[in-house]
Symmetry: C2
Subunit: 339 residues, 2 copies
């Protein structure tokens, strides 16, 4: 046996018939416990997974279709929409699957797709450890979005988060801020240099602070409105509240703003708040958040393009790094003379 194991391989290893394996797999009526155990052992040993395509020729595909209108409203959805647009004129159909921000769920989602015999896969902000990704990439054309590091078998598209964070800190320092805090999130156990963008943003922030002779001050919490709120509370209620808070994502910045308003602070008069991502809501009047745009409008297309090239045979690794740009709006201003 070579390549992905089939039901035949399982049957051979377990020393039973193919139909018996099929029955155990489908939990069908009429199998002895002994048979079940033997088959399950063989399945586990071979790491066997039934192919949905073969299955659906007779039985069910266990696939549910969902058709929805456009979705470009956050970084991942924007990327997904561009991928979709890119493949429209080709015979390929993107099928999207949603995991959470956890490695385990993302692996499950990816495997569900592989069971469906996809020709290639794009992972957006993937939390899986790099060994898993490399293994995946030896089996199927793979492109990663928003994950740093150069792979051996896959392509990647990232923004230069280090540079983006650096630009933001420089902007704040130029305005006169000296006490600039940063909110980030945990690294999820990912090891350098194969980290997600936010780690690289944090690196950029810390590097820039030191470069300007300032002391970095990072609070770790979630990249959610609530996470930002908690980080904001911690910073603003502390001994020496900063004059500027650079949130690692716009969503978190919204939470920081809430904490600030709750304390009667005006933005930007009393406190400067900035973010990263340039999501739709950041541009709204009344929000007007200074942020960094990671040019996600190109990242999705680039990822799709790279995947297509791989499907068509390219094997050399390509790693594209887009340059982010600072978007200055009304939430940043010089610090108040005294507090």
């Amino acid at each position: 046996m070579n390549g992905k194991p089939t039901i035949k391989d399982v049957a051979a290893k377990a020393g039973v018939s193919v139909s018996a394996v099929s029955k155990v797999l489908r939990d069908a009526y009429g199998v002895s416990d002994e048979m079940r155990d033997k088959v399950n052992a063989a399945v586990k040993e071979l790491d066997y997974r039934p192919r949905t395509a073969a299955r659906s020729m007779r039985g069910r595909s266990y696939s549910i279709g969902v058709v929805m209108p456009g979705i470009a409203s956050s970084f991942p959805t924007q990327i997904a929409e561009e991928i979709n647009d890119f493949f429209k004129p080709t015979p390929y159909q993107p099928i999207i699957t949603v995991g959470s921000g956890m490695a385990k769920e993302q692996i499950e989602a990816a495997e569900a797709l592989i069971d469906r015999q996809i020709d290639g896969i794009i992972l957006i902000s993937p939390w899986m450890d790099i060994a898993w990704v490399e293994r995946l990439a030896t089996r199927i054309p793979t492109v990663l979005v928003a994950r740093n590091g150069i792979g051996r078998h896959y392509d990647s598209v990232t923004d230069n988060a280090f540079e983006g964070a650096l630009a933001m800190v420089s902007h704040l320092v130029e305005l006169g801020h000296r006490s600039i805090a940063y909110t980030s999130m945990g690294d999820g156990g990912l090891k350098r240099p194969y980290v997600l963008s936010h780690t690289s943003r944090q690196d950029g922030y810390e590097y820039a602070m030191k470069m300007h002779g300032l002391k970095p001050r990072t609070v770790i919490s979630a990249y959610t409105e609530d996470g930002g709120y908690r980080a904001g509370c911690e910073l603003l209620d502390g001994d020496e509240p900063p004059t500027a808070i650079f949130a690692g994502s716009d969503i978190a910045a919204f939470g920081v703003m809430r904490a600030a308003y709750e304390r009667g602070l005006r933005i930007p008069e009393d406190l400067t708040v900035t973010g990263y991502d340039n999501v739709f809501a950041s541009g709204l009047h009344g929000v007007d958040l200074t942020t960094v745009d990671q040019s996600s409008n190109r990242m999705g297309r680039t990822a799709a393009q790279l995947l297509l090239e791989r499907i068509e045979g390219r094997t050399e690794v390509v790693c594209r790094i887009e340059s982010p740009k600072l978007v200055v709006r009304g939430s940043s201003a010089p610090p108040a003379k005294r507090r």
Copy 2:
């Protein structure tokens, strides 16, 4: 031949071999023009589409996998995420596909899924005409979200948009407004009662206005920030600018707000602006939009539940209508004494 046509049926109809059909389909080398024409005619006549599952057993699946982290940031994405959560503990895997807000693209997206042998399909805000949907529903379990009317072969989940719009108008009238304009979007040629939610919102608005003895005034434009902006400009630059603008969607309301601010108007002192949907951004400090929440947090799960029941054999039609609720925030207030 009965059921969906196969390559065999095409071959029989065209009077050629199965392999010949396969070659024409894949544009492979070595087919005469005559053969090509015969096959294409048969394909068209039978409305044949190759099954991706069978295809992928030897060749390509023409499916691209995209794995992305959570996406609940707009009405459709929120629905999609809940569907996803619902199926997590089941053996079914939702595969999401993105169309635009146009019937043609949505049909293409749906067909791409059917080619992949899905067991059931959920359509979110579908623009296809009802005959197409009914035909689909006779072939495969189908559930519609946010589309009015009771089907013969499919289930549906909607919010009571009429009631929601009515509640909003009553709120505005209670505040003292008499001149309340509304922004909607086109009906896309859909015929009553099988309309999308926004038509029903408009009906509710117009009914409520008449009920209060007021003259309805609706501007049609897109449900986008820009569409709202254009509608806002039209209303505010007109002869008798309204004291309140009820936008048919939050996104459009953001555009109306931009038009207002651009003209130096304060919200809510000089102009009341309200929306519908209660998207994330509406709750942000500085936006603080009065709106209607269509309890989309239940709609997705309900749709998934109904689909599962259909897959498992139910055939009676179920139509669930959720009650929306008014969310009063800072963008609505009594009209200025004089303008």
